[in-house]
């Protein structure tokens, strides 16, 4: 169903059932109340005269895990005795733009000269690798230094559809740690 510019009624002309269905019923079905299906969602534009319901979504992992790769990866170790937990990850329906925020308690690299970073990648309808450009973290603060930090960034150029955003981690050397990890996506 698509929006059709509402007709202008003319005095004396017959107002047909077909006109009602096109200009009133179908247009009402394109409006926000007709499309609303979730509590806490909001509406964005997806084209000229077209809106879509979107929902901001967040995933959280409290467990502290570690990572020792210079390229962005899932955590590959844990000081807790548990298996490392990948993510957090969020799958949402997006348009071409989404606000993405990652954050955590990040640091702990025993090699004082290294960086410890948390970024995100995107898979599904889009394919975007994690980079420093939208990372949170710290550089060269030492073994006992952590930052409670985050990074908010506008992801543009997404392919509209189901996109999965996943936190990824990297160090420049040694081993870094992250806990209280969050990833939030607000799609447009």
């Amino acid at each position: 169903m698509t929006w059709t510019a509402p007709m202008t009624a003319v005095f004396g002309a017959v107002y047909t059932a077909a006109q009602f269905n096109t200009y009133v019923r179908d247009n009402l079905n394109e409006c926000a109340p007709a499309k609303a299906s979730m509590i806490g969602s909001y509406f964005t534009t997806s084209d000229d005269n077209r809106v879509e319901e979107r929902k901001v979504t967040q995933a959280v992992i409290d467990q502290q895990d570690s990572f020792n790769s210079a390229s962005y990866i899932d955590p590959n170790g844990s000081s807790t005795g548990n298996s490392p937990i990948a993510g957090p990850a969020v799958t949402v329906e997006t348009g071409s733009v989404a606000f993405v925020a990652v954050g955590g308690r990040i640091g702990g690299d025993a090699t004082g000269g290294d960086s410890v970073k948390m970024s995100w990648s995107c898979s599904g309808a889009s394919s975007i690798s994690a980079t420093d450009t939208w990372a949170a973290g710290l550089v060269k603060l030492g073994q006992y230094s952590f930052a409670y930090c985050n990074r908010g960034y506008l992801a543009t150029g997404l392919n509209p559809g189901q996109n999965t955003f996943t936190a990824k981690y990297a160090v420049s050397g040694g081993t870094g740690f992250a806990s209280y990890r969050t990833l939030l996506v607000m799609p447009f």
Partner: protein, 184 residues
């Protein structure tokens, strides 16, 4: 209008209560992909667009009051002020600045990135909405960080948000700089 059984439903009533009201709904107002709607008054909505500007190169700055970068990066990168975003806002906007920021060589000093507003509003950059680091301990220490702040004192109209930088003593540095504005 409330329709009444047996009463004539006129063309003028259709045009006022159906056509004109439909044209004030979200699909009636929507123009391009990726925007969203805010309220601008009783029974009135407006389309808004979130916008971001980024500058990847590292620049330095040595002013204790907020200013544009005035030093090349540690690898000699050319000085590039900003990022800067110009857009239409109501009286409120969510503003997020972020960067890889630090590098002050005095161990107790601060290195900060904030933002100012010009255009229809005039708001100076201050620490209240800055991101950055304090006392990180040397010229090689940095934070990858951002700061989100809801600016509620804008004058509605065309407003320009520009990142500004400050230190408490020796030069600081910032790269991977971003400034995002979500107007309401």
């Amino acid at each position: 209008m409330t329709a009444i059984s047996g009463a004539v439903y006129t063309a003028a009533q259709f045009n006022t209560f159906i056509r004109d009201n439909l044209n004030e709904t979200l699909p009636g107002l929507a123009t391009v992909s990726g925007n969203y709607f805010v309220t601008t008054g009783t029974h009135h909505l407006a389309e808004r667009s979130i916008s971001q500007d980024t500058i990847s190169v590292q620049n330095g700055f040595d002013s204790t009051s907020y200013d544009n970068p005035d030093l090349a990066g540690l690898a000699g990168e050319a000085i590039t002020p900003g990022p800067t975003v110009t857009l239409f806002t109501g009286t409120t906007a969510l503003v997020v600045v972020g960067a890889r920021i630090g590098g002050g060589s005095t161990s107790t000093q601060s290195v900060k990135m904030s933002w100012e507003v010009s255009g229809d509003s005039s708001i100076s950059a201050i620490d209240e909405w800055a991101c950055g680091c304090v006392g990180f301990g040397g010229s090689t220490t940095f934070a990858y960080d951002s700061r989100a702040f809801l600016c509620t004192t804008l004058t509605q109209g065309i407003n320009t948000f520009t990142a500004k930088y400050a230190v408490s003593s020796t030069p600081g540095y910032a790269s991977a700089r971003s400034l995002l504005v979500m107007p309401f």
